[in-house]
């Protein structure tokens, strides 16, 4: 059987690099792209930091407040996600010249399966180099390339050298390269898993490969088998073409509430706005879901998530909101004394109507008015843009929310 050749493409500090390409005098400076409504405030989080900014300890996910403390002289700008998406589409167009098996893993990461096409370009290494050079020359953006016999190894390869890195890990070299690496280098191993593994004497990937798979399975279930295989560099997962196709498992939105909020009416307004965003995306992409999950963070103390499944699949804002609001009411009764600093909602248990066909149910008749109204509002938004029509209760909530220090509502 032909050995798989997978290229992993990881854009280097992507959003910041795009801004530095557009504005030449930002190059080499600590540039911080923020996810916020107002960059002059301390609200929101960092979505991308240039390599110069990273020297100050600023990373994606750092709060804007903390970033400004770490680097007061940095250049802070508001992110423009339409611009970043446009660039990602251009990168995908370039990748399509080399293979039709392209998986858009995230806005700045792409997997390309060149097993059957690398021969046209001499080798997978040449293919990778051509892709890297074309992106650099045509779009002016730095990119790191990793090549391996599967997705796991290719992704690990990109971690070896950044920015503008190019690393190839061949199957025969796998044991020597992986063995001395810390377990944290395996994709999916976070702080908690690492500390558990360290506590049982597993520090390196070689150590992990010697742990009997039964022990890992007992502790982590399916993830245990994954860890065992990952320690040996085995990964059979295919490159799944498309960005919105089979890979979608959930739709979710969350919003930071700055210093926190206890007011249920304000929280409900934020929740409604989030449900609106989630269901709008679901409808656009033809998905309906059954399980609604509410996520809440209480300061830095603790976070909880609560789920509820409904009988019928839905993509209707009010249906999702009514379930999420009920969960919220229940939790605020229990944790009423604590301020909520982050609220999120997601929908899982998805079915794609475009792929699987839509089955009509009795709820479609019962909720006909609601469905018709939603469809009409969607048509208006398709024609005139998202902000053209907004629920009064969300506007009211936004107004109240502006009073919450350090808050952000999208």
């Amino acid at each position: 059987m032909r050995e798989r050749q997978i290229i992993h493409l990881d854009m280097d500090s992507y959003f910041a690099s795009i801004e530095q390409k557009d504005v030449s005098f930002y190059r080499g400076k600590p540039l911080i792209v923020c996810h916020t409504d107002d960059v002059s405030s301390n609200r929101g989080v960092v979505s991308s930091a240039s390599y110069s900014a990273r020297e100050y300890g600023i990373r994606a996910g750092t709060s804007t407040l903390e970033a400004k403390r770490l680097c007061p002289k940095g250049i802070y700008i508001k992110g423009n996600y339409s611009k970043y998406l446009y660039n990602t589409r251009k990168i995908v167009e370039i990748c399509r010249e080399y293979s039709d098996l392209i998986e858009i893993f995230s806005i700045d990461e792409i997997f390309i399966d060149v097993t059957f096409t690398h021969g046209f370009f001499d080798s997978s290494i040449n293919t990778g180099k051509k892709i890297q050079n074309t992106i650099r020359n045509n779009l002016g953006l730095p990119v790191t390339i990793g090549i391996g016999p599967n997705k796991l190894v290719a992704k690990m390869a990109t971690e070896f050298k950044k920015p503008n890195g190019f690393t190839v890990i061949r199957k025969k070299d796998l044991p020597n390269i992986l063995a001395p690496l810390p377990v944290r280098k395996i994709v999916g191993v976070g702080r908690k898993t690492e500390s558990y593994l360290n506590s049982i004497g597993v520090a390196t990937i070689e150590d992990l490969s010697k742990v009997p798979v039964e022990i890992l399975k007992r502790k982590y279930g399916v993830l245990g088998l994954f860890l065992h295989q990952a320690s040996l560099g085995i990964d059979h997962s295919p490159v799944i073409p498309g960005e919105n196709g089979l890979g979608v498992k959930s739709f979710g939105h969350s919003s930071s509430l700055g210093n926190g909020c206890k007011d249920l009416s304000v929280l409900k307004a934020v929740l409604l706005s989030l449900c609106e965003g989630v269901t709008r995306r679901m409808r656009k992409e033809g998905y309906r879901g059954k399980t609604i999950t509410l996520g809440l963070c209480f300061g830095r103390m603790f976070s909880i998530s609560r789920s509820c499944s409904i009988k019928e699949l839905t993509d209707i804002t009010n249906r999702v909101y009514s379930v999420a609001a009920r969960l919220l009411e229940k939790e605020t009764q229990v944790f009423g004394n604590y301020s909520i600093t982050l609220i999120g909602v997601s929908v899982t248990g998805l079915v794609n109507d475009k792929l699987e066909g839509r089955q009509f149910s009795i709820f479609d008749l019962l909720e006909k008015r609601e469905i018709d109204l939603t469809r009409t509002v969607d048509l208006i938004r398709d024609k005139y843009g998202e902000g053209i029509i907004v629920r009064g209760s969300i506007l009211n909530g936004k107004k109240q929310f502006c009073g919450v220090p350090g808050a952000e509502i999208r």
Binding site: S24, F25, Y26, I388
Partner: protein, 86 residues
């Protein structure tokens, strides 16, 4: 320093190699000659396309300008001035 705004501006542009290329604009009564286009992207507002350009003007600053096909008007969106960074 970044300055955000949304002001309608006058722009002169040419078609070159099947692409629209802004060459100069007038903002607050002052004419700015465009030396280079450093960035471009296209997005949509509803069904209307918007064409965004990052342009470097003679004064050294970078201006983000946008052509909206909704009313065929040009807007100035952001000004990146060299300020302390130059």
């Amino acid at each position: 320093m970044v300055f955000e705004t949304k002001e309608t501006i006058s722009v002169s542009a040419v078609f070159e190699n099947y692409k629209l290329k802004p060459t100069a604009f007038v903002w607050n009564g002052k004419k700015y000659k465009i030396l280079a286009i450093s960035g471009f992207f296209r997005d949509r507002k509803g069904k209307y396309y918007r064409y965004h350009y990052a342009v470097r003007a003679q004064d050294g600053n970078v201006y983000e300008i946008c052509l909206s096909t909704e009313n065929m008007s040009w807007n100035l969106i952001r000004v990146h001035s060299q300020g302390d960074f130059g």
